[in-house]
Structure formats: structure tokens, C-alpha cells
């Protein structure tokens, strides 16, 4: 993975941006965090939290001009959270703010602060925490003089805030006016926060609070005149102190200050999903909120988060984070020098379906990230072999003579079109494929060629670019031999592979073609079906429309979910189902739980996965060739999928091309209970693996016998897996009691 690309991806996940309230607060008080504590009724923790951000929690709690509240996104659905009232509740709850603790500076510097107003005192507090020597010069006899005249601020509150400054080591010099330039000779830095009455001829840089004198910084109410904002004035002291600290350390004054001060936030919040709620009205407006009222008001906070993708994707939800964190983990997984690569399975559990990019305000797609990570894993030979081995062996089967076929229509020497039904539809509904091919032959002039094989999707998803290339080369050789006819795909994944990776191959979905050439003859049966568009057709609106019209012609009333562009994966995409069954099941379960009606789809894998998890579902071909209760059809399972493909090829050769093809005789006849069969499916063990193992045991005699039950225990390692089968012989049949496998190789130690 390219580090720069990783940073770009990370920058597009906006979940870590602050909520609007914090961004609007000049000192970025964590209002969302406060609301979460208050919602729990933990006033004490909320007070402690506020004290970490604000040197004067009491004063701010009473007098803040609260720009946060105007920014509150709750105002778009009801009233803004009354943040200022909440702050006041916190301020008057009777907790003592912790005193400032003088830090340890590597090199102590002396800083003078002119004016003990809010900005000056904030600067003094921040600098003493950093460990410097601080001397405050105040013209009057008291600190915070002007605030003492404010009738809305009880004196006790002001004194409680000032108690934080006791014994900190800050030296206060009262009734002393001083000249900043003179002080600059004596001190390492000077902050001028002398209020509206102070010198007004200073140029202050709004970002760094520097003046023309390199050691003098200035800010505070002098800058605002009639637009005075208490919290902004306070923030001047904070950011000026930051500049002073940087100047004393010789650090850049301007670097990394983008988030300084009141600003808008990039955090996206889907306000529409929250029902409007009015603000809680305090029983006694003069007293403000009681703790219980504050709790109720805080509970109105959404709180603001983006998480748009996490909410729609069980995979992103499963790992407990959000893309920004995942991207970092995935990058670390690739770059780790020593130790376990803990994110391998997470990377291989993404279906690559693209829904996250669809809902993301920044169009960030985790599929792109995960596929890139998989490519890196393969390139560095770090891809766990077990995650994709089964799928790649299935791909090898589809490329083998057992399934692969490319021919012109019987009686033709050329093809006007080439039908590519794909491996999974052939695996799921071989009879439909055969009938449908004959329908195409009947309706299309000039001959319809047929190609059985693999589009390469599993290799692409497994990031096996070598294998993907070989598979495409297989296709191209045959396609060219057949005269490069336009390709008609029945599977949306094949369609995607051809259009994305072989753009010079003219490709069309069979469903749009079907509308032009006409449907097979059959009566429509009225039905009510929820349409599920395969994730690989997400943006193919022509296909979406054709399928809907075809279904309508067959008497179906279509129920829409969130619309085709927001469709989900069935869990098979990206080979997620093979790398992480648990996550894939969560994905399909959420989809089928969205409503009660039968699902209609046009991807065989989607249909079979729905069926596997107990949902009644039909493929669009079931509407074209109605035959009983198609929605009740079970998932054929992986063993039958391969057998169906082989049977389809042999049947077509026999029936259409008139070849003498015999079905292979089974030397080993297997029998097993439904439980055992389901268990084998889960363990990705094919009946053919079982047959091979039993055959090996019976011919070699290598097997164990259980003297109690008479069962045999056999093992066989055809290539990279050892299969174990426990079976018994009953009436000439081999009854399978259990089977399992492992990858580790064993031999007697020398």
C-alpha cells in the first residue's frame, strides 16, 4: 500500500472531526463529551471534564456567550441543546475546580502578563502549567476587576475560580502599570491583555497574537470593541500562551494551527434520522436546570457522529471502529516488522460491495482499501492461504474441462452473440441455464455462442492478479476463436468483471437484451416480491429497470427497499463468506430481516445465500420458468454447485450438440444424515473430497476401525488438505458419520 494513498484515504473519513458545538467554541470545549456524562447523571465527572478545557468554569458557566449553542445541529430537528444552561448547572453544582499545578519546564523562562483580565489570567494559567515563571501586572487592586462589576456573576463563583490560582507560584503585582516594551527587556516574553482601556495602537496577528515586537504578544477584549465575546477573549489568552511557548522553544509559530478558534466542522451528521424534540424547560427559569432537568436536556444530544457507513454495514460494525481507524490498522498490518498481522481476517471480511462509498459524504470506499491491502498481502506472500483456498479451487474447477466450454450454436459457424451464464447460475439452476440458452438461440438471429467458464471474479477478489490474468486469457483465447462476438452475461459479477477489466469486450446484461428479444412463453403468476439488486450492479440503472419490468410482466408487484444504489451484498462478494462466515451471515441476516415478503434477485449467489439463511427467495429466472414454489428452493450447497456445473455441460453436449456423453458412474455411493451434510457445508468439505478419501481407504486399506461401532476412520491428503472421514458400510453404501480436515502435514518423526 502506498503511504500517501493511505493518508488520502484517512483524510476522507470525517468521523474524528469534532461536532459542530466543539468546533464553534473558541477553546473547543468537548460539549459532546459533557452531554454524554450529564446524560448518565454524572455531574461531578462533567465538572471535572469542563475544568480540563476552561480555566474559569464558574465564570464561563455564568457569562459565556456560547457560540456552541448557535452551532448545535439539534436545532435542525427541534431546539438547540441549551448548552449554556447545562454549563451553568455544572458550574453551580458545588464542586471545587482543581487547582493548577505548576509543571516542570526543561528551561524555565520568565513571562510577564499585563492585565489580570480573563485573557491575561488564562495565559498565566497555561504558562504556569508549562512550568515557566509568570508575573502578572495589574493596574487595579484586584484580579478580574471588570467581571466583578457584572451583576450576573455571584462573587462566590468568581472567587472559587480564582482559588485555582492559589499557591501556583504565579506572582501578582497589583496597582502596577508597566510598559510592555520595557518589560520585554527584562522578561523572555510579554503578553498584553490590558482590556479595552489599554493601548489600542498594537497590530495583532489574528493567528499567532504576535505584535511588531518579537517578544510581545497581545490579545483580549481590546480586539473586539462592541463585539466583545467573553469566550473569545479567554481563547486569545490561550492561543497567545501557545505562541509564547512555541517562541520560547524555538518552534514554528504558524504550523498546525488550522483548528484554532471558532470554526465550522466537517463532521457529517444525518440530522433527518432524529425526530424533533423541544428543549427541556427548567421548572424555575431563574434557578436554571435542576440536575434531573440537565440530565433530560443532555439526553436530547444526538450525539453528533457520522458513522454513516458503519450503520449500514454489519462488517464495519463488527470490528467496533470506523474507516479512519480501520485504515490505520490495515496499514500497520502491512508494515509491521515483527509479530502477528492481526488484521488479516478483517481485511478479507469486506465484501467489496461499495455501499460504504455510496453512503459516505466523502465517497470513501473501504472495498478499495481492503482490495489494495489484499494485493499487498499477496505481493509480500503474507496472504493466509486458508482464507481463499476453497474459492480458488472452485475457480480451478470452473476453468477445468469438467465445466469449461466455448462453442458456436449447433449448426452455426459464427456467433452474433456469446452467452456467458457464469459459474454460479450454472451451479444453482443448471436446468434454467439450458432452457434459457435455447430461448436465446430461438430469438436471436445469426447464432448465439455459449461459453461456460469463469470470469475471474474470485481471483480478483483474492487479489490473485496472476490467476485473474490467466482466467481472462482463457476467456480471450476462446472469445477470439469464436470471432469476438458481443458477450451477454447472466451474472452481475461477470458483467462487472468484463466491463471493469476487459473494456474492449462489448458486454451486455442478458436482462436488458431479454427486454428487446422478448420473454419465454409462460403465464404470469401474481406475486409480491421485494427486489434485491446484486451489489455488483449498484449503478447499472438500465439493468435495474429491465429486471423490474420483466418481473412486472410476470405478474410480480415489486417492493423496494432503499433503492438499487443502496443495495447490500449477500455476504459472498469479495469472498467474505469464505474468509469470515460469521460476518457474512450478519450481512445476509440483516438484509433478509428488512421485511417479511419473499425476495426477488438476479444473482444466483444472492438467492442461494438468502435461502441458506432461511429466507424465501426467487431468482428472476424462476419467474421466467415458473415451476411450483420456487421461493422454497434450498441452497444447493457447495458440493451440488460443482456437480451441477458438470451436469450442465454434459447435458448440453448430449442434448444440443448430440455428443455421446455418459454420466460418470459413482464407484462410491455415499449416504448421510441432513445434519452431517449441513456440517460438511459449513466445513467446506465437498462430497467429492469424501469420495476420494473413502476410495483411498478402500483401495489402500489404510484406515482405522472402531471396534465398538465398526466405523472406519480414513484420511487422505490429495494436495494441501488432509481430509478425515468416519464412515460405515451399510448395504453397499458408505454412510458418512463425520468428516473434518486440517492443513498441517504430519509424518512420523525420524
Amino acid at each position: 500500500m502506498d503511504g500517501q494513498q493511505v493518508k488520502l484515504w484517512e483524510s476522507r473519513c470525517i468521523e474524528e472531526f469534532p461536532p459542530a458545538c466543539s468546533a464553534a467554541c473558541p477553546v473547543h470545549l468537548d460539549v459532546r463529551g459533557l452531554a454524554e456524562l450529564l446524560r448518565k447523571g454524572d455531574l461531578r465527572a462533567a465538572h471535572a471534564h469542563a475544568c480540563r478545557f476552561i480555566p474559569f468554569p464558574g465564570i464561563v458557566g455564568h457569562l459565556c456567550d456560547h457560540p456552541c449553542q448557535s452551532a448545535c445541529r439539534r436545532s435542525e430537528s427541534g431546539d438547540a441543546i441549551r448548552i449554556h444552561e447545562l454549563e451553568r448547572t455544572i458550574a453551580t453544582a458545588g464542586f471545587n475546580a482543581p487547582p493548577f499545578r505548576r509543571g516542570r519546564a526543561m528551561e524555565k523562562k520568565r513571562v510577564a502578563v499585563l492585565g489580570a483580565g480573563l485573557s491575561g489570567m488564562t495565559a498565566a494559567a497555561d504558562l504556569i502549567v508549562k512550568g515557566h515563571e509568570v508575573v502578572v501586572f495589574e493596574a487595579n487592586a484586584q484580579l478580574l476587576g471588570r467581571l466583578r462589576q457584572n451583576p450576573n456573576l455571584p462573587a462566590s463563583i468568581l472567587e472559587a475560580d480564582l482559588a485555582r490560582f492559589e499557591n501556583t507560584g504565579i506572582e501578582f503585582r497589583y496597582e502596577q502599570t508597566a510598559n510592555a516594551a520595557t518589560l520585554a527587556d527584562e522578561f523572555d516574553a510579554v503578553y498584553v491583555g490590558t482590556g479595552p482601556a489599554g493601548q489600542s495602537d498594537i497590530d495583532i496577528d489574528p493567528l499567532t497574537y504576535t505584535t511588531r515586537h518579537p517578544k510581545i504578544f497581545a490579545g483580549g477584549s481590546r480586539r473586539y470593541g462592541s463585539h466583545y465575546s467573553l469566550i473569545t477573549s479567554l481563547s486569545d489568552g490561550r492561543y497567545a500562551a501557545l505562541s509564547i511557548e512555541r517562541m520560547l522553544q524555538g518552534a514554528s509559530l504558524i504550523a498546525n494551527r488550522d483548528s484554532q478558534g471558532s470554526q465550522a466542522s466537517r463532521l457529517y451528521v444525518n440530522v433527518a434520522v432524529h425526530a424533533p424534540l423541544p428543549a427541556v424547560a427548567p421548572a424555575d427559569p431563574a434557578q436554571g436546570y435542576s440536575p434531573a432537568e440537565a440530565q433530560a436536556e443532555a439526553a436530547r444530544c444526538f450525539p453528533c457522529h457520522c458513522l454513516e457507513c458503519v450503520q449500514v454495514c454489519p462488517y464495519l460494525e463488527h470490528y467496533g471502529g470506523y474507516p479512519k481507524r480501520y485504515i490505520r490498522e490495515i496499514y500497520n498490518n502491512e508494515t509491521i516488522v515483527m509479530g502477528a498481522r492481526k488484521s488479516n481476517r478483517m481485511i478479507n471480511s469486506c465484501t467489496l460491495c461499495g455501499l460504504c462509498a455510496e453512503v459516505c459524504p466523502e465517497q470513501l470506499g473501504m472495498g478499495e482499501v481492503c482490495l489494495s491491502a489484499r494485493q499487498g498481502m499477496v505481493a509480500k506472500n503474507h496472504m493466509p492461504v486458508s482464507h481463499h483456498d476453497f474459492a480458488l479451487r472452485d475457480l480451478a474447477f470452473s476453468r477445468s474441462k469438467a465445466f469449461a466450454l466455448a462453442r458456436h450454436q449447433p449448426g452455426h459457424n459464427e456467433s452474433a452473440l456469446l452467452f456467458f451464464p457464469g459459474c454460479q447460475l450454472s451451479a444453482s439452476s443448471p436446468d434454467h441455464v439450458a432452457r434459457f440458452y435455447q430461448h436465446l438461440c430461438a430469438k436471436v438471429d445469426g447464432g448465439v455462442g455459449l461459453m461456460l467458464g469463469c470470469c475471474g471474479a474470485p481471483a480478483h477478489w483474492a487479489a490473485r492478479d496472476d490467476l485473474f490474468g490467466e482466467t481472462r486469457a482463457d476467456f480471450r483465447a476462446e472469445w477470439e476463436r469464436l470471432g469476438k462476438p458481443p458477450v451477454i452475461t447472466a451474472c452481475s459479477s461477470c458483467y462487472r468483471m468484463f466491463t471493469d477489466h476487459q473494456p474492449d469486450v462489448p458486454t451486455e446484461s442478458v436482462w436488458t437484451l431479454l427486454e428487446r428479444i422478448g420473454l419465454p412463453d409462460a403465464g404470469g403468476v401474481p406475486s409480491r416480491l421485494t427486489i434485491h439488486d446484486p451489489c455488483t450492479t449498484r449503478h447499472e440503472s438500465a439493468i435495474h429497470a429491465s429486471v423490474r419490468r420483466i418481473a412486472h410482466q410476470r405478474g410480480a408487484t415489486i417492493v423496494e427497499l432503499e433503492g438499487a444504489e443502496r443495495t447490500t451484498c449477500c455476504g459472498f462478494g469479495g469472498l467474505a463468506q469464505l474468509a469470515n462466515r460469521e460476518v457474512a451471515d450478519k450481512i445476509v441476516d440483516r438484509r433478509i430481516g428488512q421485511n417479511e415478503s419473499d425476495h426477488l434477485t438476479y444473482c444466483a449467489m444472492c438467492r442461494d445465500n438468502f435461502a441458506r439463511r432461511g429466507k424465501r427467495a426467487v431468482h428472476i429466472l424462476d419467474l421466467l420458468y415458473p415451476d411450483g414454489d420456487a421461493a422454497a428452493r434450498a441452497d444447493p450447497g457447495f458440493s451440488a454447485r460443482q456437480e451441477n456445473r458438470g451436469r450442465l455441460k454434459r447435458g448440453l453436449l448430449r442434448d444440443l450438440w448430440g455428443e455421446d456423453v455418459t454420466e460418470p458412474a459413482d464407484d462410491i455411493e455415499l449416504a448421510m444424515s441432513a445434519e452431517v451434510q449441513a456440517d460438511l457445508e459449513k466445513k467446506l468439505i465437498l462430497l467429492d473430497d469424501i469420495r476420494q478419501t473413502v476410495r483411498h481407504a478402500e483401495t489402500s486399506g489404510e484406515k482405522l476401525i472402531d471396534q465398538k461401532t465398526g466405523h472406519f476412520v480414513a484420511q487422505h491428503r490429495p494436495v494441501a488438505m488432509t481430509y478425515w472421514v468416519e464412515y460405515s458400510l451399510e448395504g453397499g453404501r458408505h454412510v458418512v458419520h463425520r468428516a473434518y480436515s486440517h492443513r498441517m502435514q504430519l509424518e512420523i518423526a525420524p
Partner: protein, 70 residues
């Protein structure tokens, strides 16, 4: 996959070819170029090594995954 002796195979399991009961023996297990010795039930006659399902799907699968992620 502990190098400490694993649970021996049930005594009723015997080698069909050699007609011998299984005994614990040293076995070299290898995966992805890593190999190590374990003790498993084997036929003393032909060297047939027995792996019970609990071991294959439990500890063995765990070690396979740890080595794949290494």
C-alpha cells in the same frame, strides 16, 4: 498441538490393516515451512497417524492460523 502428550486415541480405535492398537508416538507436524514435534496416536505397524476432530478443529486450526498470520 501441545508437545506434552495429547489425549490418547480411544482404545477401541485400532489399525484395520495391521490389526494393532494405536500407541502414542513422536510425529513431525509442519505447516508453511515451520515444523515441530508433537505426540499423537499412531499405528506401531504402518505409522498411520490419527488426528481426532477436536484436535483438528481446535488447537491445530489455531496453530495454522497463528502461523498464517505470523
Amino acid at each position: 498441538m501441545s508437545e506434552r502428550p495429547s489425549t490418547p486415541a480411544p482404545p477401541e480405535l485400532t489399525c484395520d490393516r495391521c490389526q494393532l492398537p494405536l500407541v502414542l508416538g513422536k510425529v513431525k507436524a509442519s505447516y508453511l515451512g515451520n515444523s515441530f514435534e508433537v505426540e499423537l496416536s499412531c499405528c506401531p505397524g504402518c505409522g498411520f497417524i490419527y488426528v481426532p476432530e477436536e484436535l483438528a478443529l481446535g488447537k491445530m486450526a489455531q496453530v495454522e492460523q497463528a502461523l498464517e498470520d505470523k
